[in-house]
């Protein structure tokens, strides 16, 4: 009975109800889009960091800290047998040392990273290094990232001088040849980083068999003389950033929801004001005020249901289309975020369901709050249209 009255009342509201439904539906679409895009962004950025640097964690030389470049050379150790035995797809040996590059004869401090050419754990554009022999000829082949190349005005085929120290501390220098400028996707392995073959770097610095860390696919238990750094530790700064992003997105979410609630609340207020004579008549005819509240609240619920339906009808094609074209974030290439390519939304079903449930509850609450005052209305005043001023 209540339901059929509410349905009738709702359909008679016409444009007012339609606009209310449309605003709510668009807000729901915006909400899902925002959350999914953020999910997609974070997932792709995390994937880039894992694929290019972190892997499944690092077995690091004790005391090695990437933020203390002056101590890198003091923390290199021989790769232990247990890690050597891992398959090349499960490990990547990396040696990190300081160096000084002289592009256009200007000093540019760099991080020299040697990586084994046999590894396939980390996806880095270093194929052009593989064709060079283990022994160094006149020029040392190196690869730089696009950001590094842009900053230091380097391009493929350039030769320039690199200065470094060997294990004993003796200064050494030689010309390097830029054999490729690759898109690293991750600024951590791009800006200020010079990629070399591991065997070349070991030879240059008299560090036979030594590494700074071994990136592994999976944790294989404690390894003597090595410290394991899990992904969470290696990506702590990025994960903290993601958490902050989530908080920021919640603020946006709250703003959006407040707007929806205000819209629903406002519509209900207007409804009561315009329909006070109707409410007065119903009360005069003996209808319980609580029942009238129920009817009005049900009208609000109907608006929420229709909003979900419209959101589904409008949003679904939009989301399917957007999943195909993605969102171009090439403008982020100047930032330090590990993402440069087009990002695609990542729709999490449970997250969407939770969000919709919350939206529904908020709309129902927003519909109920203004109508609860009906219980306090004087029927005679309501009949004359003077109960609410």
């Amino acid at each position: 009975m209540n339901w059929s009255i509410a349905k009738k009342n709702f359909s008679r509201q016409g444009l007012r109800a339609s606009l209310n439904v449309l605003v709510t539906a668009l807000s729901i679409i915006a909400l899902i889009f925002m959350l999914s895009l953020l999910n997609g962004f974070q997932a792709q950025a995390t994937k880039n960091v894992v694929n290019t640097d972190v892997g499944g964690g690092h077995y690091r030389a004790p005391g090695f800290d990437i933020l203390s470049p002056t101590e890198w050379e003091d923390h290199t150790v021989k790769t232990p047998e247990i890690l050597m035995q891992l398959d090349n797809k499960d490990k990547a040996e990396v040696l990190v040392l300081q160096g000084q590059l002289y592009p256009n004869r200007r000093l540019y401090p760099v991080q020299i990273r040697g990586i084994s050419m046999e590894q396939s754990l980390l996806k880095l554009p270093l194929n052009n290094l593989k064709i060079f022999p283990k022994n160094i000829d006149d020029l040392i082949p190196v690869v730089v990232g696009v950001k590094m190349a842009k900053k230091s005005h380097l391009q493929k085929g350039d030769t320039l001088t690199l200065k470094w120290r060997d294990k004993s501390g003796a200064v050494d220098a030689k010309d390097v040849l830029i054999v490729d400028v690759g898109d690293m996707l991750n600024p951590r392995v791009d800006e200020g980083v010079l990629w070399l073959r591991l065997d070349h770097l070991r030879f240059m610095t008299d560090r036979k068999g030594e590494v700074s860390w071994v990136a592994v696919q999976n944790y294989i238990g404690p390894v003597p003389e090595f410290e394991f750094h899990p992904v969470e530790l290696l990506m702590a700064d990025l994960l903290a950033l993601w958490r902050q992003d989530r908080i920021n997105s919640k603020i946006l979410w709250a703003i959006l929801m407040t707007l929806v609630c205000i819209s629903v609340f406002n519509t209900q207020m207007l409804n009561i004001f315009k329909r006070q004579k109707e409410i007065g008549t119903l009360m005069a005819l003996g209808m319980d005020s609580n029942r009238i509240v129920k009817i009005f609240t049900l009208e609000g619920c109907l608006a929420a249901v229709w909003a979900l339906v419209v959101a589904l009808l409008l949003g679904l094609p939009f989301f399917i289309w957007f999943q195909g074209v993605g969102f171009d974030v090439s403008h982020l290439s100047e930032s330090t975020l590990p993402i440069r390519e087009t990002i695609y939304p990542n729709y999490q079903l449970m997250e969407i369901i939770y969000s919709l449930v919350i939206v529904f509850i908020l709309i129902v609450a927003s519909s109920w709050l203004p109508v609860k005052k009906i219980t306090r209305l004087d029927p005679t005043m309501a009949l004359r249209g003077r109960a609410i001023k």
């Binding site: 200007r106 003796a170 200064v171 220098a173 030689k174």
Partner: protein, 253 residues
Amino acid sequence: MDRIYKVFLLSFFLFSLASSPLLKSSEAIDAQKLLEQVDDNLWSNTKFISGRLIVDNGRKIRTLTQDTWMEGIDRSYTHYKSPAREKGTKMLKVKGKLWMYTPRTDRKILIAGHLLRQSLMGSDLSYEDMMEDHKLSKSYSATFDSFANINKVRCAILNLTARDKKTTYQTRKVWVNPEDKTVLKEERFAKSGKLLKKILFEDYEIISDRKFPRTMVFKDLLKENTKTTYKFDIIEFDVEIPARYFSQSSLKR
């Protein structure tokens, strides 16, 4: 006749060889001894130097004035007097460690290990270069290369090879005037043989019975259009240096 001709040719060849400047010089030059004599000329137990470090980075020239007290190879203390930005900066070297005090931060920082390889106040010298005060004859073994003229002065070129693989520059080349045992030019090489730095020693003067250069010009050859000139305005040898100069308390304001 043929035999006489052969004997004549052989005699001529031997005479030419014996009289060639190369052979004569190499016989005359004992590279290691010459290097020791160079050290003896320059070396003293204690030194006081008041000088200017003129840093030309190709775009701007900065002049830093400083007073330095040095004792042996292990200890030195430098006080920067100008420009305003660097005024009051102090550096204390004790053995392999270097402490730096900057009045702006009111902190003393230990510059050790790899930090020593960084450029000293944007100059062509590293902290390590600046701290370096060891006897070349002790650290390097010298061999004679050839003679060459520098500003019409005939110099013996000595090739120096480090005795220890920990020595920063594994090879050097020095141009020494054998007459007065002074160095006019020095080149420092990377392990690979690449030339890294060139140093010119100019304006030699006799100070306390030693011939000492008033000016040293450092050039980092990997950089373009940069040079650092170290001018010694006052040099005193074998001076009394109070022990407190080489204690960390000297770094305090």
